[in-house]
Amino acid sequence: MTDIARRLQALATTAPDTLVTNVLAATGTGMFYSTVAGPVGVGELLIGWSSAGIYAVAPVTEEARFLEEHSTGPLAPMPRELPAKWRRQLEAALRSGKLGRLPVDLGKLSDFQQTVLRKTAEIPPGQLRPYGWVAREIGKPGATRAVGSALNKNPVPVLIPCHRVGRSDGTVGQYAYGPAMKRDLLRAEGLDPDAIDEAAERGVRYIGSATTNIYCHPTCHHAMRIKETNRVELSSAAAAHRAGFRACLVCRPAVAA
């Protein structure tokens, strides 16, 4: 009896490698990835996606790290073209700098991280906000450091524009894939990162308009429209208020400060 049982056990085997791939493709489950041309100067990007949406973005040069980070057990993400609709939405998002309806999967992140990233997604292309601004806007003015760390772990950089958040001293600051990529992304949106750093180092935090008496973040589109002769450089929100300026309602500098 046991002899037969043992012979039957020998019929147990491992499934062919193609099985899991075929099943996941047929059911639309599992983790996949594709590539897309990044913004000018940034190069190709890896786009990790599943039925829940886009779960990761990384430069193609980081492929090994990307595959390792997103493997579950022996199953690494599989190369597969994005659904056509998502491909169109992705390309539109990269062109416009706005997420639009592209589904982004932040499900694995904490509520705090999700809140930080959703707020960051509201920053218009071509504009820079300090970490402290994000912290204030989500109602956690003391959480500047936590905001920085949440943005550093942004799983979908470029799409959720953590490159549009800089240091509280007004400089461009660091980036998970190196500061050069952050500067390239800002340049692709029409900003001059060197000029931003230079002004910040001179102590400029905000720009006021002598005609409207409103002050803005230096890259707010209202600030960019102020005529050279009416531009007032301001070193802090307190200085702006002392000089009789009120905060811009669009870029909301230091609302709670």
């Binding site: 009896m1 037969i4 056990q9 059911t27 829940a52």
Partner: protein, 182 residues
């Protein structure tokens, strides 16, 4: 058991996110069992179809139903149905097709050799048991399910399942001794 319950909870939380884990966890055992019933040539197709049907079913279940699912027996209920359908379709096929399948050489023939024994030989032996015994023996000794899990999968009492396994093994022993005696 604990691990299986965790999988059910993860499936209940998000079917699509946990489904790859379900496939990875169960594919070897499901494939091994299915192969014992249908042979190497069709085992992958039938196993694949079982997983696809499982996914389709999960999408219609409530969270509570998935949470309380005994994943292994449940998968086997689906797979056994497919194996039964496969056998029915095969028996309706014309004999010539049957022959051309049996003579298919190359890779398929190589696949049939399991640890030096012909899988086909086991398929023939198992085919001589009653369906209940064949299913019980394979699920117990090839797949490694518990009697309770087999009973759930086949919707039969545990006691009957034990009897099926033991009578199935006795029958197989007789079949093998007949083969070995001249």
């Amino acid at each position: 058991m604990g691990k299986a319950t965790e999988l059910a909870s993860r499936l209940a939380a998000d079917v699509d996110a946990a489904f790859p884990e379900l496939v990875l966890t169960h594919q070897d055992r499901l494939y091994s069992g299915v192969r014992s019933f249908v042979g190497a040539a069709d085992a992958e197709d039938v196993t694949q179809e079982a997983f696809i049907r499982a996914h389709r079913a999960l999408q219609t279940y409530t969270e509570d139903r998935i949470e309380s699912l005994q994943v292994s027996p449940w998968l086997w209920t689906i797979a056994l149905n497919l194996c039964r359908n496969w056998a029915r379709t095969r028996s309706r096929r014309p004999q010539t097709v049957q022959l051309s399948f049996d003579q298919s050489g190359g890779a398929a023939a190589e696949d049939e050799v399991v640890n030096g024994v012909m899988l086909d030989g086991w398929k023939q032996r198992l085919a001589r048991l009653s369906e209940a015994q064949r299913v019980a023996v394979v699920l117990r000794h090839v797949v490694g399910l518990s009697y309770r899990e087999i009973a759930t999968a086949t919707d039969r009492p545990v006691g009957t399942t034990k009897t099926d396994v033991s009578r199935g093994l006795t029958a197989l022993r007789r079949i093998i001794s007949e083969e070995e005696s001249p």
